[in-house]
């Protein structure tokens, strides 16, 4: 979509992007959250479930007022984290990027700056399995509650 076609559409609603590999234990936390969000049928909330972030998502993100990234991260603390996304200039791979570099592309390519947050779910196990560790399982419940509160605002 061209910049002019994007600009014809007023930004609207919230996009939740959960990313990670569901076959790698706790790394599947992001897609698991997306599955839960979809079941809530909240109005004006759209979801994307993906193994990783990639540049093509910039066009989609530009259409929303708010974007929430949900990702698993190797645990340094035992609680979920919520932080605003700051633009990054990391040298992204061609088919994988960080929330910060993606938000920078949204601004530079589509002249849009949605409010962007990232939830990090602490993770312990990245082995080949589809189960979550007890820590991540507990934090997923906390994340769902926190996300419900955030989306209610």
């Amino acid at each position: 979509m061209s910049e002019s076609k994007i600009s014809e559409k007023a930004p609207h609603g919230t996009l939740v992007i959960g990313y990670g590999n569901s076959l790698r234990g706790d790394d599947g936390a992001g897609p698991c959250i997306v599955e839960w969000v979809e079941q809530q049928n909240w109005p004006d909330v759209t979801t994307i479930s993906a193994q990783q972030l990639f540049p093509e998502m910039a066009e989609e993100i530009a259409l929303y007022e708010r974007v929430i990234f949900v990702d698993a991260a190797a645990a340094t603390v035992d609680a979920i984290g919520l932080q605003p996304v700051t633009e990054a200039s990391d040298r992204l791979m061609a088919h994988r990027c960080s929330p910060g570099s993606l938000m920078r592309m949204v601004r530079e390519l589509y002249a849009r700056q949605p409010h962007a947050f990232v939830y990090t779910i602490p993770a312990r196990c990245f082995d080949l399995c589809t189960d979550f560790s007890p820590l991540t399982r507990g934090c997923l419940q906390d994340a769902c509650k926190a996300l419900a509160q955030l989306l209610a605002k």
Binding site: S2, Q51, E56, A58, S89, R91, A94, S101, R104, M105
Partner: protein, 475 residues
């Protein structure tokens, strides 16, 4: 005293690799080698699995070109079934294969290589990436995003998933095309054609700035190999193999999948996990050939679609014979994107495209099968043998990047001899040697079945084996 330079890792390619440049006693480049440093071994661990699993198993080789493996694997399994699959299934497979080529070519050109072309080979390394492109040439970055996204959307809407769909199966495909999907794709094609024609116009106006790179980026005589139809038109799924020489003279034609071993043999070099296939009738290493978009345009006489035919006509003016400079892989890639849109439109307008008869059912009727299709990077070949229960007893995969291995080695040697001076690697020279590899758009996870992320490296080695300089760029 001879010395060596190593580039490790090579960047902005699909995979891990390194380049070693050997200097002679006078400090001049004697040789250069492209090493792929990982091994995965799909051929071995597929043994014992049912042939029906092969499309899904081998597609896991790669997250960039799984569709290509699905196509070659499914065709090999069709041969084991010994059935003629429904015409509609063939057409749907062709559409998805072309969508894969569109998205992969867009990734290669816009995300990986256009930073070199638009920002310059000598631009600061921190700017030569898609973010730098977004800042300096947002229109071009948006075009790349649109094209790649559209290719992936076609795959997702027809096959169910953009990566690793289970839609292509032995005997056909497992779901017909939905009418609304057909309409949606057709509605988007005009925008895609507008974008790629605009980019083609830019490329044709700009490549004159790269006369030196065109001259020294793997510009040498070789054979070229690709699929063509019976009417000599460009083909990416059906047809038979053709081999042409540097003057575009046909030296072998009509080669069917099952005959490939009469024409292609494989050699293993001690310093790389990437195989070195060669044209058997000329021996090793004289039987060097190239595959991929440049080779396909050199092999075909026509595209079979009007707008890309005009572009092919202009492309032919580059040379009286075959276009030899690998720099023009970029040009060929853009023409193939245009062709992809035109051909998808043609196929979607076929009267039987919405037919629900899309799969033939049978058990294994042949002990082996070979499947060949054109992946974005070139001809992809899967060859399986099965026992009477349909379990795989032997498998051989020859990947596009492997076909190009000899040419990539020769290409980096040519570029290194021209650009590398002395025993330190300047950034511009490093990038140009890497850029030769990027012309081929190698996919190393496919070609060696490597595991993990795969950037590259470059090393300069003296005649006594001393490492004089080494550049490592982790991304």
């Amino acid at each position: 005293m001879s010395r060596t330079i190593v580039i490790d890792p090579v960047t902005r390619i699909e995979g891990h690799a390194k380049i070693t440049i050997y200097l002679n006693g006078d400090g001049e480049v004697r040789d250069a080698r492209f090493h792929v440093t990982q091994y995965r071994g799909f051929e071995k661990f597929c043994e014992g699995r049912p042939y029906t699993e092969m499309p899904a198993l081998t597609a896991r080789t790669c997250g960039i070109c799984p569709i290509s493996h699905l196509m070659a694997a499914s065709k090999a399994c069709d041969a084991i079934l010994a059935v003629k699959i429904p015409d509609t299934a063939v057409k749907l497979r062709k559409i998805v294969n072309l969508a894969q080529i569109i998205q992969s070519h867009a990734l290669s050109f816009f995300h990986l290589s256009s930073p070199d072309l638009l920002l310059g080979m000598d631009a600061p390394v921190e700017q030569r990436n898609i973010l730098g492109l977004a800042a300096s040439h947002p229109d071009m970055a948006r075009d790349g995003i649109w094209l790649r996204k559209f290719g992936q959307q076609i795959i997702e809407k027809i096959a169910g998933k953009r990566i690793h769909p289970a839609w292509t199966v032995p005997g056909g495909v497992n779901a017909p095309l939905a009418p609304d999907v057909r309409e949606w794709i057709l509605s988007q094609i005009p925008e895609g054609i507008r974008i790629i024609q605009r980019v083609l116009d830019w490329y044709k106006s700009a490549y004159g700035q790269f006369a030196d790179e065109i001259e020294y980026f793997a510009n040498f005589p070789s054979l070229f190999m690709g699929l063509v139809n019976e009417d000599d038109s460009l083909e990416h799924y059906d047809g038979a193999l053709r081999v042409v020489d540097d003057r575009r003279r046909i030296i072998a034609d009509g080669i069917r999948s099952a005959e490939y071993q009469d024409y292609i043999a494989e050699y293993v070099e001690p310093d790389s996990y990437l195989k070195s296939p060669y044209y058997k009738l000329m021996g090793y290493p004289e039987g060097i050939y190239r595959v991929g978009p440049l080779a396909r345009l050199n092999c075909a006489e026509r595209t079979g679609a009007p707008l890309s035919a005009v572009e092919l006509f202009a492309f032919r003016k580059l040379s009286k014979g075959a276009v030899l400079s690998s720099f023009h892989y970029h040009y060929a890639r853009l023409i193939e994107i245009l062709f992809g849109f035109e051909r998808i439109e043609q196929l979607l307008n076929e009267p039987d495209i919405l037919s629900e008869h899309v799969r033939a059912h049978a058990g294994p009727n042949a002990g082996e099968g070979v499947g060949i299709s054109e992946a974005p990077r070139g001809m992809l070949l899967h060859h399986y043998k099965v026992d009477r229960n349909g379990l795989i007893t032997w498998a051989n995969l020859i990947i596009a990047t492997g076909h190009n291995n000899l040419a990539m080695n020769r290409g980096i040697t040519q570029a290194a001899k021209h650009y590398v001076k002395g025993d330190k690697i300047k950034e511009g020279a490093l990038n140009r040697v890497e850029a030769v590899i990027r012309c081929y758009d190698p996919c190393l996870s496919c070609s060696t079945h490597a595991f993990g992320e795969m950037p590259m490296s470059l090393r300069l080695i003296g005649p006594d084996g001393t490492v004089l300089d080494e550049r490592v760029k982790n991304i």
